[in-house]
Symmetry: C2
Subunit: 414 residues, 2 copies
């Protein structure tokens, strides 16, 4: 790639530095950083937008704040006029895992893929301007590949290089099987970049190997190499593990405002800076100001966290919902009194019910097992009184208030 930086005017050079500061803020790694500058320079010099790629797994369309780290970064590129290329990995989705070993990679029908893509679209629309986004299904170019094409593709990479991927080398070393077809997933992902001539690919830090494959394959096929921007992984509410739905430590972008606000308030203080950086839409200057105030003690951590909660709710539900969610939180948790908008449920069941059954029937707990645990942990109250007997038989009364955890309430109507 030729050097565009040296061709820029002084004003363009300033614009280059401005954009670079935005894009490089809060990232884990840029491979390589000087090429990102040159890509921006190319865009400024040729007056053409850059193509920014993000690949999506069509089997997991529930978007949570962990995903928004990369979406917020995409948004920065979009706000500066660059083109977002979203790729639904439907080819992989439709073939599933032929060995049937991976539950996550079950075979999807065309309808499921379309449905999941739509779900992505709706959720992404809360962050990105979806009218300007380019959407691709990679089955378009992967399905027609024949054995000769694939032999050519496979010839681009050595087995040793593939075994450098952490999970592969680990599995080989510990005798856990790697099916040969698994070697093809990074190649397919990389081939997407060849077909779309992406300038930049974004990914979570755990996608390091896969997104670099795009760079490798573009070079092999004589294309300009993409720059790889790796984003940090966001720890979930537990502050330890990567946010994920399966671990239950997530805040979904589709969750109700007061749920979202309440979960945010449960984040550990030390994580707050990272959350401000990665999941809010504050400018770089604003983020720095908050961090400075926190350090100097002029901003109380509780107030900062409430700002974070308001901001997250505002981003996904709007200003009004965010104020309401904060009020709700203050009422329930800070003042220790009941909220005013407790949902009412008309009781049509037995006159008296074991408390465990009641919780499940009211949909406050998913299973008897969970209900039992919640009682044992002291998380269940009837009319404000903690339930301590697992086998308590309750006589159902009108206006009875059942509370589970800090935020779930039901008022019984009889």
């Amino acid at each position: 790639m030729e050097n565009f930086i040296e061709k820029l005017s002084e004003a363009q050079k300033q614009e280059l530095e401005r954009q670079y500061a935005i894009y490089s803020n809060g990232v884990q790694e840029i491979v390589p950083a000087h090429e990102l500058k040159n890509k921006i320079a190319k865009s400024l010099f040729t007056n053409q937008p850059l193509k920014i790629k993000l690949g999506l797994d069509p089997s997991a369309p529930d978007v949570h704040l962990g995903h928004t780290v990369v979406l917020n970064k995409l948004k920065q590129f979009q706000e500066n006029g660059h083109t977002i290329q979203l790729i639904i990995g439907d080819f992989t989705g439709k073939i599933g895992d032929p060995t049937g070993k991976s539950v996550a990679r079950k075979q999807l029908t065309d309808e499921e893929v379309k449905h999941n893509a739509k779900t992505y679209f709706e959720q992404f629309g809360k962050i990105l301007d979806m009218e300007k986004v380019e959407l691709y299904y990679n089955s378009k170019w992967l399905s027609p590949l024949n054995l000769e094409d694939i032999i050519n593709l496979a010839a681009s990479i050595t087995v040793a290089r593939l075994l450098e991927r952490n999970d592969f080398s680990e599995r080989l070393a510990t005798g856990k099987p790697i099916s040969l077809h698994e070697f093809f997933y990074p190649l397919m992902q990389g081939y997407d970049s060849v077909m779309l001539e992406s300038d930049i690919e974004l990914g979570g830090n755990d996608q390091h190997f896969n997104v670099l494959m795009g760079r490798h394959l573009q070079e092999y096929f004589g294309k300009e190499k993409q720059v790889v921007v790796l984003l940090p992984l966001l720890e979930g509410l537990d502050g330890v593990e990567k946010m994920s739905k399966s671990k239950g430590n997530y805040i979904g972008v589709d969750e109700a405002p007061h749920e979202m606000y309440g979960k945010t308030m449960s984040i550990q203080d030390e994580m707050m800076g990272k959350y401000f950086d990665l999941v809010t839409d504050f400018s770089l200057a604003e983020k720095n100001e908050i961090k400075e105030k926190l350090e100097s003690g002029t901003l109380h951590p509780r107030d900062a966290k409430m700002l974070l909660g308001r901001t997250i709710v505002r981003m996904y539900h709007g200003e009004e919902a965010s104020i309401h969610a904060e009020e709700h939180f203050k009422t329930v948790f800070q003042k220790g009194i009941l909220p005013t908008d407790i949902p009412e449920v008309t009781w049509t069941g037995e006159e008296s019910v074991p408390v465990i059954d009641l919780l499940v029937q009211l949909d406050l707990q998913k299973s008897k097992g969970e209900a039992r645990k919640m009682i044992q942990n002291g998380g269940v109250k009837i009319n404000g009184e903690k339930v301590e007997d697992l086998h308590l038989l309750l006589a159902i009364e009108d206006k009875m208030i059942v509370q589970v955890g800090k935020r779930k309430f039901v008022r019984i109507k009889k």
Copy 2:
């Protein structure tokens, strides 16, 4: 596979044992032996021929005795009514090696593949009844495979299993690159067995891994598994290395009778038993008789070797040529006199010529370098006198006899 052996009549069981004794004679390994018996039993019980597969590399059509080891085994199956499936690996031939690293695997055109197949056919016709042979080009089923098919194929095998192949594990251990596409060659070879539903695949002992892949893939695709019959590798004239054209230690099936006979006479005594076993058309009883006579001393090794020479020439050039070749050999080498059929060359060159140039101009040596070595080794005679001076300037005379090595003569006409 169900047990057919127990369904056979006594007469059929005897026939089974007869065929098994023939097929198992002189082989390196049968994987697994009891299944070979059951395959023969199936054929006898159902009165259907077995399908016996041999894969051929379309890039190396010069057939030498090393190849005939497996062809002779095929012939035994053919003589008992089974069907030979010859597969020209034209798919691999036509794509070549995309990395361009393997000279042996250069890309072949359709014409070259066809030409090479024809060459095989002509040469194989000296051993097999080619009218009964089924010929296949594997591009027919490999070319149309798409990425989904290939992912399915690749899912059948683990990386660890592929790395068990000696050359792969060695290369990985020593840091020599293995391109991913190389993993596909054994899979493709195995897929041929799936498509052709082969009962038995033959191969040299160095093909162990590749031919077993057919067995593995047939099982994966729900077919009856083939039995693998591995033949020993034939050492060449040097008695050390595998016979191969590139090593110059071979006897080609297309070579002239007296060349073939002479080369056979240069085989080391210890190799003779193996040659009788692997490259002659003697029956098992005849082979055993020869070996016994050699051991008891009632057959002189020289006479045995002459019988071997006559037999090989007879197999490829007929009875008359074999007798003539033996006569030629006796005349030249055993009696120490000149043969009667020395080719005459009319000399049109200079009056006097350096001996090295003469050898090259008469086509007795390919290069001056080789001519020089031959003189240094004492292998050049002019009119029966050994040439000792590398720079000898010869005055060319009518009827001058130039001899190179033991078997090349030219009489100059002037």
